[in-house]
Symmetry: C2
Subunit: 354 residues, 2 copies
């Protein structure tokens, strides 16, 4: 009897050990707004999942579903909210129709550059405001990769005046879309996978996407060769959305692994897109000589700024949370821009040939 009791105990012990090891395994699902090969957006997601897998020794595994799988590029916030996915990768300003307070957490026209905005997120109260804004949606939101300063978009014809803009149908998301609406454009957002077809078929006359690193591969220049410099998205930060309950349930270790992996993936994408843009830009003049690099006329920029200021005041009245975020960003922009001017800007002035 004693003998068999020991055998049973030993077997139970081994079973318990293997069970407790098994119980620690975490398997998550992530839904992306993007298709499966949209580098560097997808690199940010795959890089994050790979880091989580490696750093957890295979104990925390995240499966990635692209938009062609889940069929709902702009439904990912809802799917995470409802627990159909544990997390998602998207951009906060896509939710402006659902909740206007979520708009400024991506980028703002005439707003902060990437280092200024990262400093705002991590040291200027941005992260706290982001969680406050997302609390009603039952999710956490984290920076998910910065594109850096974006180009102003592709147009079929040269823009010489405000009149040339009026009536144009353009794909442009975020607050910039509001600003251009105000200037008489018909503004829309279109899922990334449908951009080229929409431009080709004339559903839209113009679009902005990201910058040379991503745009040229899409082929927009074949239809709309006028490529304008940016004013509207100085530091577009994508986002990881995480289901609150699932995140809170993680062990301290897994939560640290996931949180650090998301943060590092965000910085990594900023640098990767910088590289991709620099690389593509250096080939434009030789490989794509028919692309015409343009800047908007001063009168157009002035009108955009005016419309931007007007809308900031107007929209703030609609939502106390939006007002709070815009005020915090405005204050931090003023402070950090003075330092940017004194450091990188003056330095570049001395070291750039115009």
């Amino acid at each position: 009897m004693k003998f068999s009791r020991i055998v049973i105990t030993a077997v139970a012990f081994v079973l318990l050990l293997s069970f407790s090891a098994h119980a620690e395994k975490v398997r998550w699902k992530l839904a992306m707004t993007w298709g499966p090969t949209l580098s560097p957006f997808t690199d940010a997601v795959e890089g994050m999942a790979e880091m989580v897998n490696e750093m957890s020794g295979g104990e925390f595994v995240i499966r990635i579903d692209a938009a062609n799988k889940h069929k709902s590029p702009f439904g990912v916030l809802d799917m995470v909210k409802l627990g159909q996915y544990d997390m998602a990768h998207s951009a906060s300003y896509y939710w402006k129709g659902k909740d206007i307070a979520l708009l400024p957490l991506t980028t703002m026209p005439f707003g902060m550059t990437a280092p200024e905005q990262y400093a705002w997120f991590y040291h200027g109260g941005g992260m706290e405001l982001m969680q406050e804004a997302y609390a009603p949606h039952n999710v956490y939101s984290f920076p998910g990769g910065n594109t850096g300063n974006q180009m102003g978009g592709w147009f079929r014809k040269e823009i010489n005046s405000l009149d040339d803009l009026k009536g144009l149908k353009m794909r442009i998301p975020g607050f910039a879309g509001e600003v251009l609406s105000e200037l008489g454009l018909a503004v829309t957002n279109i899922a990334p996978g449908e951009l080229y077809t929409s431009l080709e078929r004339g559903t839209i006359d113009a679009l902005e996407w990201v910058g040379p690193g991503m745009d040229i591969k899409m082929g927009f220049h074949k239809i709309a060769p006028y490529y304008y410099t940016g004013w509207h998205e100085p530091a577009t930060e994508l986002q990881f959305i995480v289901n609150k309950k699932e995140y809170d349930k993680l062990s301290d270790k897994n939560r640290a692994i996931l949180t650090n992996a998301m943060k590092l993936a965000s910085y990594n994408m900023y640098i990767k897109n910088y590289h991709m843009s620099a690389d593509a830009w250096s080939k434009i003049s030789t490989e794509y000589p028919h692309i015409k690099i343009m800047t908007f006329p001063d009168t157009v920029i002035a009108a955009m700024k005016e419309s931007n200021e007007k809308l900031l005041a107007e929209k703030s009245k609609d939502s106390p949370m939006l007002k709070k975020i815009l005020a915090s960003q405005h204050k931090y922009l003023e402070k950090s821009r003075e330092w940017t001017k004194m450091s990188d800007y003056y330095y570049l002035q001395d070291n750039i040939e115009e």
Copy 2:
């Protein structure tokens, strides 16, 4: 007999389990060039160690020794090489007297800005060149935190001409030190903990340290109130040095944890120092009105550039590895600066009031 054999087997099994769990624990020691409270340099190190601890669930612990403990701020490379420490935190250009090829891995006068340089490290061949340069020293080197664009330093008197610079004793490390030597200054490097005393006692007449976030706390302005904008360190990247044998011995999981934690700590410091500088800068005019913000005259900048070009050609002859790194940096700077100009620079031009 059978009974006792089972008991012994069970006990052995439990012992083996607890032993194998114990064997996985890794305890490392890190030596910093800095004192214990030199934020944000020390934050980068503490942040890295904390991430490693949390992400490993306490299985990988790194003890940090500041310079007041190990007493050898500039001896940390040797201590890691010899295995007295597993890793260190310092700056690659401090080793220029030991190995000139290690100099450009921190920053270069008139060189790349932080995003350009990170892109070079991670996508332009920089990391591979860094490991090649450090291989003879038996260590790996990793980016360890960027200060962003540094200020040109503190001077007792206004610098109106090259003659005002001649004969000045100045603390300035790296290639910038070589450049100023060429212009007739007596250049030296001094451990961070002794900077203020050296300036106070007249061992040096001038010094550059980092930027407003770190400098003002040091009190240099009380002795040398002329504060010049930067030309010499556009993106100073500190470094983690890791003993090769110890790094290679880590499990895949611990190696991933350490590597990602170092990389994230580096970006985190860049953003933290951006914030600290912006914050300090915004208070200068009200709290330190006697600090005089200056830019070097055009003639001085031109002479610095000329001396820089001349020395780049000269020093390259001394070391094939230095030549290789400088050539790679030069090529990447040319490419990435065009994109910086088209994106952030033009954007800032439109959005900065001069």
